[in-house]
């Protein structure tokens, strides 16, 4: 086959993990083929609605109801708009299944770059505590790595991508290699003082964000221009995306081949050699299947999609994946629980408003169960993401008086939402559907994932503590809400092919490397053995860079 020996490595997926894998591997001298199921979107020219106001976007940038119902009934939970629709998955064309009573929102991208084009861009390091949490809590699934194993890779990634934030020296939330923070506004500064005074030990800090506050001219990237239209694609390259950061780096080596519209169905495996020998994919435009070979495979298709590919890699006639000797493949699927919101009015400071549209906001780091069980009725903890803002005044009545009334801003308001850690449960699993297949012949992913008592108790506490903190800090009209908690809704789904020391209880080893195949690395969310309560993408990037280094060193030794 003509493709044989053309590539040293194949990277499946081009999101935060796949893009980083392609960059690292090509820069280390490997010829890399990167496959992505999505359509091609080039940096800049592919951002059709970058800089366009609502009146230049179809349907005023409001998703038409018939289109949502027909094609974006899951993507709507992922903030799809006409201006970013091409970056999102079409739910009609790419279905999945869930069991009765275990609804799951599998929110997927639909373009090269993966979720790096549609992500929230909050970047946090995990703490030493996070890597030790399963062990400390006596929960099955101790991480085979600790914070110190990952810390240098966090630094490496942060310096490269650019992360804005403030140094805080917090035990639970280690500082990154920061560019200057996005400033707090006057109301957030006021809230910080009130909250930290009233609740000693709790903090309200600047967000940590991949939106840059300093230029990176060597990468042709310009700092954030405060448009807050990140989801349309950013031609300034101000935030991390594959398109803006890792794809140009990989292309610059001359060793990258990128194929979009290429849907990987399964991995070909040589059981005798314990190696992956090929990657089978289907050209979504022609329906043609092809198997391509390389010495090394990085599977970075996203937590659930990578797990699906692994599950579907099995001997003819067998239900059992080559990679599931442990029986843990597809299990321990997690997502952050987050449908608790608290908001209130901030009195005064009405002589000030915000100029510019700042992405991000402020963060209240986890304060529960740090360093031990505090007897609050649940394990682990949660943090809050929020911001203070002034909306234009709401319409009152109609006519000239209403129009005039809407020419001013309402008082400051603050709102925040909790993001809580979900424990790993063996019974929270994804599997292949027994009878339904997609248009490429791949069995549908079937979800059976639920939040349990620990997560729900945590949200009850997050709601009560959030109210207490905002009231204590001096906000008025403080209200909280809790809505349906659906796994997947936070778009932080993780697990399915977890890392561990023991091949009998895990899928991957401490290098994100498959126990069953030394030339297969899975470096996206699938590898996570627990999920902290902080946003995960930065950790995926760090683990990917670490795994790529290990893989290339291993190749050179061999």
């Amino acid at each position: 086959m003509a493709e044989t020996n053309r590539f040293d490595a194949i990277v499946i997926g081009s999101g935060v993990s796949g893009g980083f894998a392609a960059k690292e591997l090509t820069e280390k001298g490997l010829r890399v083929l990167m496959l992505d199921r999505g359509k091609m979107v080039e940096h800049g020219e592919g951002y059709t609605y970058d800089g366009k106001p609502a009146y230049e976007v179809p349907a005023r940038n409001i998703m038409p109801k018939p289109l949502v119902d027909s094609d974006y009934f899951i993507a709507k939970h992922g903030y799809v708009q006409p201006s970013n629709r091409e970056f999102h998955n079409d739910d009609r064309l790419n279905p999945y299944a869930y069991d009765e009573g275990s609804k799951f929102y599998w929110i997927r991208p639909g373009a090269v770059g993966g979720k790096s084009l549609i992500w929230g861009r909050w970047c946090f390091r995990w703490s030493p505590e996070d890597f030790e949490a399963n062990k400390r809590d006596g929960i099955d699934g101790d991480w085979p790595i600790r914070y110190d194993d990952v810390a240098p890779w966090y630094s490496y990634v942060e310096k490269y991508i650019g992360v804005s934030g403030s140094r805080e020296n917090l035990v639970y939330l280690p500082d990154s290699e920061f560019q200057p923070p996005m400033p707090m506004n006057v109301a957030e500064k006021w809230l910080k003082q009130g909250l930290e005074t009233k609740f000693p030990g709790r903090k309200l800090i600047n967000t940590r964000l991949s939106n840059m506050t300093e230029d990176k001219p060597d990468q042709n990237r310009t700092k954030c221009q405060f448009r807050n239209q990140c989801g349309n694609g950013c031609s300034f390259g101000a935030y991390f995306s594959t398109q803006a950061v890792t794809l140009p780096a990989a292309r610059a080596t001359g060793r990258l081949t990128l194929k979009s519209d290429s849907v990987v169905t399964n991995l070909v495996y040589d059981a005798a050699r314990k190696k992956v020998t090929g990657v089978r994919y289907i050209d979504a435009k022609t329906g043609q299947a092809e198997t391509v070979q390389a010495d090394l495979v990085f599977l970075c298709a996203s937590a659930i999609a990578s797990t699906q590919i692994l599950l579907n890699s099995r001997a003819p006639g067998s239900d059992r994946s080559y990679f599931d000797e442990s029986g843990t493949l597809g299990r321990y699927v997690m997502d952050h629980i987050f449908r608790v919101g608290i908001e209130g009015d901030i009195p005064g400071m009405e002589e000030f408003i915000e100029f510019g549209r700042r992405p991000g906001g402020v963060y209240v780091p986890r304060f529960r169960n740090i360093g031990g069980d505090e007897g609050v009725g649940f394990k682990r903890g949660y943090g809050y993401q929020g911001s203070a803002y002034r909306n234009p005044a709401a319409p009152v009545g109609f006519g000239a008086s209403m129009k005039q009334g809407m020419r001013k801003y309402a008082p400051w308001r603050f709102s925040m939402g909790a993001f809580g850690e979900c424990l790993p449960y063996a019974d929270n699993k994804v599997s292949l559907h027994a009878s339904k297949v997609d248009r490429f012949g791949v069995p549908l992913v079937r979800f059976d994932v639920r939040f349990r008592d620990n997560e729900l108790k945590m949200m009850t506490d997050a709601r009560a503590q959030g109210e207490a903190m905002l009231k204590g800090a001096g906000l008025t009209n403080v209200k909280s809400s809790e809505s349906e908690h659906v796994p997947g809704d936070a778009i932080h789904e993780m697990g399915g092919a977890r890392m561990g020391r023991d091949p009998r209880t895990s899928v991957l080893n401490e290098w994100s490397q498959a126990h069953a195949a030394s030339n297969l690395y899975v470096t996206d969310g699938a590898q996570m053995a627990s999920i902290s309560c902080v946003n995960p993408s930065l950790t995926f990037m760090a683990l990917t860079a670490r795994a790529a280094d290990h893989a290339v060193q291993s190749l050179r030794k061999a």
Binding site: A59, R92, W122, F352
Partner: protein, 193 residues
Amino acid sequence: MIDRRIALAGVVAMFGSALYAPIARAAGVAATPGAAAGIPVISEGPPSVAVFTAPQRALMTALSERVLPTTDTPGAIAAGVPAFIEKLLADWAAPADRVPILAGLDAIEARSLADYKVPGANATAAQHDALLTLAMNDQIPSGSVFFEAFRQLVVTGYYTSEIGMTQEREYLPVPGEYNGQFPYSQVNKVYSA
């Protein structure tokens, strides 16, 4: 991720009340997945169906201008709000979403004939204001349901139009900087998002 969520919540906050369904869906607060077939293209151009009869359209147009009238800046008609409303109801909303609008227009039409002996479209501005006030106060059949839905349509159409975003409000395509303590006294107009 919160900024995406807050940005959408801002649409909700603009109205501060229960949302008319199409606006609610756009803001992501409703959750009614359907299974209808469809083509992934956003319909643009003229409405694919006539939502309004000619008298209804004339009345809707006149009332939109009373909700957001021409003052020192252009009003709803100049901003293309009536066309936006008909397009939205024809192609960007569910057929059921037309019901409260059409019912309200018909109730106002009937009241105009009863009170002023003229078709709604021919009533004076003052009479339109009186009719809208009756609707707002729910003193005609389905009045307040119509009023809230109609006002949200007009407000959304106006403040997402070029006139609404750049004349009534000020749009900064590239602010370039952020100041979280900017003196309100230096602000001439509300900034469009």
